[in-house]
Every structure is written in C-alpha cells, then in structure tokens.
Amino acid sequence: MTTVSHPTTERTATAPGSGGPAVLELRDAGLSYGSRALWSHLDLDLAPGEFVAVLGPNGAGKTSLLRTVLGQQRLTSGTMSFLGQPVRRGHRKIGYIPQQRLMDAGTPLRARDMIAQGVTGSRWGIKPASRAERSRVDRILDEVGATAFADAPVAELSGGEQQRTRVGQAIAADPALLLCDEPLISLDLRHQRGVTELIDRQRRQQDAAVLFVTHDVNPILDVVDRVLYIAGGRFRIGSPDEVLRTDVLSDLYGTPVDVVRTMGRIVIVGANDAHDHHCDADPNAATPDDGRI
C-alpha cells in the first residue's frame, strides 16, 4: 500500500494544546475493506485541547475513522488507544456529535432532558438526578444558548436549535474527546458559526480533544490546529497551511488540483471530478458571500 511520508510527523510530539498524555493514540493504524485500503500506517496523537479536522473526499474513510474510535469497526492493522486504554465500544468520556438528524415528533424529551442524557443517560435505575446534576444541566443549557427553549419538546425545535442541544448533550458528560461527524451540515451560516464556537470553547476551557470530520474546512478554519487529509488510500497530517497546498494535495490525489485561497476561504479546484469537495453542490459549502473574510 502506498504511504505518503508525511512531512510533519514530528508535529505529533509537539502538538498544540495543553500537552499531557495523548487522548487518542493511533500507531501504524490501517483500515481496509477487502483488498481496498482506506488508509494505512496512520500515526496520530491527539493531545488534550487539540482540534484536528479530518478532510477528504467521500468514501476516503473519514467516518470509518470515527467508527474505529467508537469501537464499531476494528482496525485491520496497528493499534489505537483512548486515554491509554485499547478502544472499546463507546466510552463515557467520548462526546459524539453526529450529523443533524431531526428528532421524530413524539420523542418524549425536552431540550433539557436531552442535555441531561449527557449527564445521567447511561445510569441504571430511576433515581432522580441530584441537585448538582440539575444545576449542571441548567448551566449547559445557558452555555449553548438553549435556556429560551429548555422546556420545549426537542422535536419542536428548529434544526439549529436541535444541533446546539446536541452539542450541549455531548459536552455535558465533560468528555476528553469530542467526535464530530459533519455536525455543521444542513445548518445555516449563523448556526454553523454558533456550533463551531461552542465546540472550540469546550476544548479550550475543558481541554477536550476534538476530531472533526467535515467535507468543508472553511467554517472551522480559524479554530483548527491540524488537518488530517485522506484521499485515495493515502493521507497527510499537518497544519492547514502545510496540508492545504496545491503541491501537497496534487501529490495526494495523484492529479493536479489547485488550492485557491480567496477572501479568507480555501477552495479546492480540480478535484471535483473524482469526488465532491469544497466546490460541490452543498448550498452551505462554498457560497462566496458568507461574509467569512
């Protein structure tokens, strides 16, 4: 399998964030379906407080990477550990923010209860939440700006409100790692910014590491520490400036692509034929008038 000798391996040792032992450690990790390798020989140390974006075309294995961290899929090679332990199926210290999926009408929860699930959702029995836990829920409602609709049924909330509530649910457990799987998709720009700010604040204040899968780096460009770009069975890791470059991505794709920086945004041109990326039809992805300058 082809592996890119990534120029920035040494960064793994001195990753941004507050230091301390890595939250997530991948050593020579690989994942393949049959004979098709999604990625291999992947070394990644995610430090506390570090924000890593996982980029790449559809089918490159971005979501599969998250699934391996969640223990829903096994690595074909190499090892992965979370907080020094081998990964297992889910973990109390992992906060997961999925793609927006509107809650069904008839979900017997209010916004407040959804956030409470982050605190007490995995507890057995029906012992009511303690006073401290209830006030924690109130505090998080306030933090994510959900106090106004705290007692509204979640199915009645707008998409942006639901997604803010989900972020609240994820950070309520005070996670060491926030796994985000396209959490901004289908949100308008105002809510994209809001959700990004919430995630960024959580990792700065609580030292949570963030692994953020997205097809569009632009909404999170100013908070990202490192980028893991996966394409065609190969990958590059480094700061956005080191990875999101014409020469690096052309090499990765094996075909000429142009990385254009315009108005503070990064647009990748030429790679559209092989996959959908920043310039695809997603209405939120590459609108030039989003005011992000």
Binding site: R67, G95, D104, R190
Partner: protein, 315 residues
C-alpha cells in the same frame, strides 16, 4: 333498543363485579405494563413489531389450547420466540419490518390451524383473537402478576439507558451505552408484555393497550416523567373501564377497551393539536428574535431522509 341493552347492561352488577374481581385486578396490572412500555414502543418505532409478536403469541396460545396445556404459558412461549427472532434478525428498521411481515401471517396461520383442530368450546377460540372476560382464576392471576412485575422492574432498571438508546442510538452507543444488549432485553420484555396483554384484549387488539395510550400521552406532553404516567393512567382507565362496561352484556371485552382508549387518543389529539400550533408560534418568535434567516425546510427534509438511510445502515 335491543342492541343498546345488549351493549350496556348493568343487571346484577354488584354480584358480577365480585365474580370478576380477579379480571379487574389483572386488567389494572396490564394497564400499568402497557402504559409503561408504550412510550418506548413509540420512541423505537415498533408498533408493527408489537402486532407481529401478538400474532405469534396467538399461535402459541392456540397450540396450547389444542394440546390442553396452560394457555398463558403457550402465549408467553410464542411471544418470546417471536420477540427474540425479531430482535436478533431485525436490528435494522427495514429488515425488521420485513421479518415481522414474514413471521406474522405464519403465526396467524399456525394459530388458525390449531384452533381448527381444537374440539373444545368455540368461545375459547374467539377469545384468543378478540379478548375475553373469562374469570381469571387465582393461579392465572398470579402468573400474570409475576410476568407483569418482571416487565415493570426490568423497565425501571434500564429506563434511562433504554430511553437514550431509543431516541438516539448512535450517540448512546458512543457514550458506552450497551445499545444492542438493551435492544434484545427490550424485545424480551416486549414479548412478555404482549403475551400478558393478549390474555385480556386478544391478539388482534394488543396495540390498543401497548401503543394507543402512549401515543395519546405524547400528544399532550414531552416530559420524560409525565408521558409514562399519563400513558399508564390512560391504559389502566381503558382496561379497567372496558372490563366494567363489558360485565353485563355477553360481548367480548375488547370493543370496550379499544373504544375507550381510542376516545382518549382522539381527545388528546384535539387538545395536543392546539399545543402544536403554540409550539410553531414559539419557534417563529425565537427565529425572529435571533434575527436569523428562515429555516430551509426542503434542505432539512433532504438531510433527514439521508440521515435516516445512514442510520438504517449503521444501526
């Protein structure tokens, strides 16, 4: 007014109530079971599974009628087998529905075969499908109460993780909730609850006990405590009320139970409809206050279906 007096007859009512007090107790217990499990059935989108399980429960009951063994045991066996099959083979929603659709007619056919071969009283046969008010004897009541207690205690123990994994399986799994184990335990409990409900309302009408009260409660509230409480009250009122009304006439109990539970649902729907409108108004007000752009409805719908497919593939 002949039909009327047949439908509602209260002659010798006091003596009858004493005669069937076991049935009334059984009904109250079943109401609690149905009311508590209902919100999960709705949240997990499993009403069809309930229907499928009840048909296999019917098969088990008719087989035991034919073989001359305990009918409750038979329907328990049928239910649990069906529930486990559905739980093991149908972890994805789409698979689940087709598996239920395969099992259900098979169970119903098997049941009809057993009933056709059975030479006993015809009322027994009919009762399995549409419910009966046969005086529940003491051992039978004990069995019902024990099974119901197992269901209720299990539900209370797994309540929070089960609700978490019912409304948001991916997120719950990420947080370490044993989603798959809970799904199987829930199917087992649902099998037991269905089997005991079949005894009173009959295989065809179990939904009126396990789904309708919860659906009605959800029209009124989304509060995680209010919903199960309301749903339990509705279910108990339906069953006990149905038994009390059915006492005098010689008719099956089920039309009374289903009608009461249906009327409750209609009332809740009308009251809840007003609430829906208030909710929409609140969203509009919030959006205006936040100064945001209007929501992209079409876009939301697109992503919803895409996410639904994705969920189906990963569940």
């Amino acid at each position: 007014m002949d039909i009327w007096s047949q439908v509602f007859s209260f002659q010798d009512y006091g003596e009858l109530v004493v005669l069937v007090q076991n049935s009334i107790w059984a009904g109250a217990v079943l109401g609690i079971v149905g009311g508590l499990i209902g919100p999960f059935v709705v949240a997990r989108n499993m009403p069809f599974a309930v229907h499928g399980i009840s048909e296999l429960s019917f098969a088990g009951a008719s087989a035991s009628l034919l073989l001359g063994v305990n009918v409750v045991t038979g329907s328990l066996v049928g239910s649990v087998i069906a529930a486990l099959l559905i739980g093991l083979l149908g972890s994805r929603a789409r698979d689940r529905n087709s598996i239920i659709a395969v099992l259900m007619p098979f169970g119903l056919g098997l049941g009809i075969l057993c009933l056709a071969l059975y030479k006993g009283r015809a009322a027994n046969k009919f009762g399995l499908l549409t419910g009966q008010i046969v005086s529940v004897d003491n051992p039978q009541l004990t069995l019902l109460v024990v099974v119901a207690a197992i269901v209720v205690v299990t539900l209370l123990v797994i309540w929070r993780p089960l609700m978490f994994s019912s409304v948001d399986p991916d997120v719950a799994a990420a947080a370490g909730v044993p989603v798959r184990t809970l799904a199987l335990v829930f199917m087992l409990v649902l099998g037991l609850a269905t089997a005991v409900s079949v005894q009173i309302v009959g295989a065809l009408l179990v939904l009126s006990l396990l789904v309708t009260p919860a659906a009605a409660a959800l029209r009124l509230s989304s509060h995680p405590v209010v919903v199960p409480v309301l749903s339990t009250v509705f279910a108990v009122v339906s069953v006990v009320g149905g038994i009390l009304l059915a006492l005098g006439g010689g008719l099956p109990i089920s039309p009374y139970v289903t009608t009461i539970s249906f009327v409750i649902w209609v009332v809740c729907r009308i009251v809840g409809g007003r609430k829906d409108k208030r909710g929409r108004d609140r969203i509009v007000r919030r959006d205006q206050r936040d100064g945001g752009a209007p929501r992209l409805q079409a876009d939301d719908a697109d992503h919803r279906s895409a996410a639904g497919r994705k969920e189906g593939a990963t569940a």
